[in-house]
Each structure stands twice: as structure tokens, then as C-alpha cells.
Subunit: 326 residues, 2 copies
DNA sequence: TTCTTTCAGGTAATCGATTACCTAATATTT
DNA sequence: AAATATTAGGTAATCGATTACCTGAAAGAA
């Protein structure tokens, strides 16, 4: 079923059918319009969007590249993106990189071949290369602060200040020896959270003990591993975790050693993923506006696509939500 | 940059460039081939996949329609789909319906306009209508067992038997009054789990007490609500939850009432989403091969798309994994 | 030598819409 | 009544690849 067949059935030209479908019907009589509409309905005609895209040079789809949708942080981000995209008439193609630069490259190529109108991406931790500079598909980076000049949009949250706040919260609650478990240092997010942690400790006159810092990855397993490693040889009364998944892992490990939270050890996470309020005890954490970041990424991207004036950098605020783990 | 411009730069026709790019280069001299390849590389030429799709009538993309990627069950399913799709050279467009039939309809239309090669979908609980029958885009349904004749593929897991097993497990552990918290009855999955629950109770000579059955939705909130409602007026020593999210909610509610798991109340969930082993206590649950379901859905769909012989129904096995909540 | 293959690559129709521009009829203005 | 404007719709080029079929030269066979 093509537009020509519809046109024939309605005794008009394909141009007329196209005009009716796209609301450019100023010069179409109501009778003709209804006739065309009726036939489209009857035949269950669905226009070929590919043909349309080829002509109008827009696919109304955007690509989203992220490490892993199974990670609650990214699934929330993806949902934020999808909802806003849908509201603005765009579909989204999703790509998981597992922080693998090869896959990132491959997807970038595929998305461009598919002629997406724009790309939203949380870049791989190590993608400091400048592969993105050479192409012109509009793009906005989310969460990972990587410097590509100012050609790309960026949605970020400040990490230093909330990390400082989180650590200070532990100090205020009386913690004297506070550990930090997070991802490796190639990840800028992790580094910034470390800076906030350091700042709070120094300000409180506490010393930085490298033995209380464990850096691996933003996963539950890392949380288990880190807590295990630190608790084996050292006494701590507080842990600031680089994200909530780590906190969940640490929580489990602490309980297995017969220690209590928050009585023996207080814990603060980061992100406030949806599950965090349901773990035991409910986790004190830094609430990141994850879903909103997804929304904003789409807003910015669509502004770029549709060539509107737009600020290429947007910083959102994160804040502490206190629950029972401290 | 189009194929014609590349052709001009290489002093060949666009047909030759096309042949080189697609490996149909039997009749292309090695010298020409290299020259074309070099220019493509130099110019950073990316072929227009939309134009290609229009001609070859295949977009190499499949759509996936599901209730909500933020739900751990579906994010794992989505990941299973994406990974297998990527391996087979397909991209995926993701659509969240929130179990809203209107959105489902809308996405179905959009995906067909975008000319996806196939659709994988977890149908809305209420979509018993036959809207899918009239179109010919290959489609496989996952998890939700809805009858559309045998035109559509189906990937399912048996729910009755594992639900029976879960309930029997509680009985074997000594539970005398076992509650059931799950989603509403329009959801066949939920119904089947109820049937298994009922079967185990009757077989053990226990009576079905409707006061111990709470049906709402497959969410953490429902778990809280259900446990709250049931525990207020009744004494129970075991709860079979329709899925893990419900179990997590119930767990929280139980603890808030000062009851202990598993000493006072034993709990079994369903799904084994990734977080379940990390809650406190680690959840005994029915492990569904969620990721594999995603894989299999793609396998089946691609077989249908590429017109291979294929069994339109595939049933996977779920099994009990015992952890500390029982 | 002549005929047939093979090789290397070119020509142009095609996929299914969109849209700038055209036309013919009717309506309005002066 | 003549000139102009509006209405209703049609014509055909175009988007950027793919591919069936064609061509002319060189190689091999008879």
C-alpha cells in the first residue's frame, strides 16, 4: 500500500494525499479531504516513514548511548529521555556500551548511518579521544564531563559540593574514620566526588588515610569488595559510597560481619536510585535529578536540532536526602 | 557527502562505489577497490542508511514495546534483546507504555511508520483486543500470554508450576498461613501464579483464605500496601509474592512492624531480578531466565523476518533459588 | 581467425514520499 | 467588462542509495 495506490482509489494525485496527511490542506476541498481520509482509514494505510525521512532529511529519532540499561541509574535516565522525546515527537534508539570504547565507536557509526537527528550519550570513562569532533550530528553528553571543546552540549550535576555535603553529614553525625568507596580515577565523576570527600575531611581537621579509600567500579560487587577489604584491616565508623549500588554492596558486607547500620557504621550513598529507599536500612544518599537530566538532555538536543538559541551547558543540583543509614 | 561525490572523486560510477562498500566486488579490480576505500576513509563518508533502507526494504531495526524500562524486570529483558539484536546486526527502538493501551497503539503505529523489520512486545495487561491481527510486521510477544491466533510468536515461561513450587517450599518450611500478594487478575501471568499457589495449598490440605490474597500491581508500592493490609488484621507466617518488587515492598513493611524474616514470616518472590540477592535478607525467589527471554525473542523474531522455518512458541523454565528469606 | 567467455565497470530505473511550481476554473475588484 | 486574486488540485523533480542489465575490451577456445 503506497501513497499512489491511495491516490488512485481516491481519484486524486499523490500530492493531494500527501497534503491531506500532513495538514497542508488549505487548498483541498473538504469533500476531497474526507474522501482521502476515509480511504486511508479503510485500507489501513501506513505511510512509509523511510521515504519521508529521505525527502525531508529528518528521521525524528535520536540515539542514546549509555553503559548499561540494567543499571538503575541509566534506566532512569533512559526513561527520562524517552518520555521527553515522545512528548516532542521523537523515537529513541538505545545502545549499551558496557563502557567499551569499541562498542561506543561502532554505535556512533551505526547511529549516523541510520541518520538519527541527534545523539545523547554518557561517554565511556576512557573516551578522552576526540572522535566526536569530526562529525556534525548534534550531540549532548550527560553526566560524564568530557572535554571536546564547546561543540557538544553537556548536562551535568555538580559532584564536588554534594560529595562534600555527604561527607560533612557523616562528620556531623560523629564519624571519626570515614572510608570512601567509588569508581576508578579515570572517571571524572568519581574524582569529583573524591575531591568533595577530601575537602570535608580536611576542613574538619581529619587526615586522609589512603587505606580507607577503595576505587574500583560503580557496581554492587565493588561495594562488597571494597567494604570487605577495608573492614578486614581497619576500623571505620562511616562510609561515603560513590553511588548507591556501591552502598548496597557495602551494606550487605557490613551486615554479614555482624555490624549494625547506622549504630556501628553510618553510610551515605549517591544518586538516590529508586530502590534506595527500600533497602534496609533506607539509605541516606545524594539525590541526583536523574530523570530530569534525561528530560533536559532531550530539551537541549532538540533545541540544537531545530536550530534554536541554546546554552550548551546546563548544571543541575543534587542534594542530600537523609534516611535511616546515618 | 553522498555516494555520487565519492564516485566522482574516485573517477568511477556510484554503482562501483556501492559494490565496493557492500563487498559485491567480484568484478572490481583491486586497484579501484583500494582507491575507493581510501577516498571513503579520507572523506569520512558515512552512507545514508535511510536511502539504502528505502531501496532494499529493510531497516535492520526492531522495535521493543514494554511497560517500563525502569522496572528491573524489563530493563533486564531489554538488555537481553539489545545484546542479541546487536549480535545479529539490528538496532532497537525502545517504547515505554506504562501499561497504557493508548500509548501501545500509538507506538505500534509509529514503529510501523518507521518501517521496523519486527516488533518485540510485552503487551499491556488489557490489550485483549485484536488490533495486532491486521498487520503483517513480524512480531513476538514476551511474557504476557495473550491470544491472537497463532500469527504471532510467543516467548513465555510457565508460571503455574514454579508458583506451585514456591508455595510448596513455604509449606515444607512449616508455614501454615500463607498470603499471596500480586497483580490484578486481568494479568494472565498473575492469574497463573495464583493457580500454582492455590494448587499447593489445596494439595497440603490448607484452605484458601481470600483475606490473605491482595491483588494490585507488580510494584514495590503494592508490596508495601498488600503487606500492610494483610498484617493489620491477620496473622500469617509466609508470603508468596507475585514478583520480587512486591517482595521488597513487603519486606520493608514487615520490618517496620518489628517482625523478622524468616523467623516470623517467610517470603518467596518471583523473577530473581538482579537486586534480589542484595536485599536483607537475600530473597528466596523463582529465577526467571529474563535475559535469555530477551535473547530468544530476538532469535525467534529474526528467524521470522528472514523467513526461516520456526516454532512460533517457546516456553522457558523457571526454578526456585533458595536464599535467606525462607 | 572467429566465436565465446570473462572481466571491469557504467547506465538508469527504482524505492515512496514531499513540494516547488504550474494550470484551469471560479470569484472578486475596479 | 477586463484585470486580478483565489481555489483546487496536478506535474514532475528530488532525496541517496541499490541493482538488473548493458557495454566494450581482453582472454581463451575452436
Amino acid at each position: 500500500m503506497t501513497i499512489k495506490q491511495i491516490a488512485e482509489l481516491a481519484n486524486v494525485s499523490s500530492a493531494t494525499v500527501s497534503k491531506v496527511m500532513n495538514g497542508k490542506d488549505k487548498n483541498i476541498s473538504e469533500a476531497t479531504r474526507q474522501r482521502v481520509l476515509k480511504i486511508i482509514e479503510e485500507e489501513g494505510y501506513i505511510p512509509n516513514g523511510i521515504a519521508k525521512s529521505l525527502k525531508v532529511k529528518s528521521t525524528k529519532t535520536i540515539g542514546i548511548i549509555l553503559p548499561d540499561v540494567m543499571n538503575l541509574f541509566f534506566s532512569e535516565l533512559a526513561r527520562g529521555v524517552e518520555d521527553m522525546a515522545e512528548a516532542k515527537g521523537y523515537s529513541i534508539i538505545i545502545c549499551n556500551t558496557d563502557n567499551n570504547e569499541k562498542k561506543e565507536q561502532k554505535y556512533l557509526q551505526i547511529l549516523q548511518e541510520k541518520m538519527v537527528d541527534g545523539i545523547i550519550m554518557t561517554a565511556t570513562e576512557s573516551s578522552a579521544n576526540n572522535i566526536f569532533c569530526k562529525f556534525k550530528t548534534p550531540m549532548v553528553l550527560v553526566d560524564r564531563d568530557i572535554d571536546f571543546g564547546n561543540k557538544l552540549g553537556l548536562i551535568e550535576v555538580d559532584n564536588v559540593e554534594p560529595a562534600y555535603e555527604a561527607t560533612k553529614h557523616l562528620i556531623d553525625k560523629g564519624c571519626k574514620r570515614i572510608a570512601f568507596i567509588s569508581s576508578v580515577k579515570v572517571n571524572k565523576t568519581s574524582v569529583n566526588r573524591y575531591i568533595g570527600y577530601e575537602k570535608a575531611l580536611l576542613e574538619a581537621g581529619q587526615t586522609i588515610d589512603e587505606n580507607l579509600v577503595f576505587l574500583d567500579s560503580f557496581s554492587i560487587e565493588s561495594g562488597c569488595l571494597g567494604a570487605q577489604k577495608i573492614l578486614k584491616d581497619h576500623k571505620v565508623d562511616g562510609i561515603f559510597c560513590g553511588n548507591d549500588l556501591i552502598a548496597i554492596g557495602a551494606l550487605k558486607e557490613i551486615k554479614e560481619r555482624g555490624l549494625r547500620v547506622p549504630e556501628d557504621i553510618k553510610i551515605v550513598g549517591f544518586d538516590d536510585i529508586s530502590i534506595s529507599r527500600y533497602v534496609d536500612p533506607p539509605l541516606t544518599t545524594i539525590k541526583q535529578p536523574i530523570y530530569e537530566m534525561g528530560n533536559e538532555a532531550v530539551n537541549m538536543l532538540v533545541d540544537i536540532i531545530e536550530a534554536r538559541e541554546v546554552d550548551m551547558k546546563r548544571t543541575l543540583k543534587a542534594c542530600l536526602v537523609e534516611r535511616q543509614s546515618t
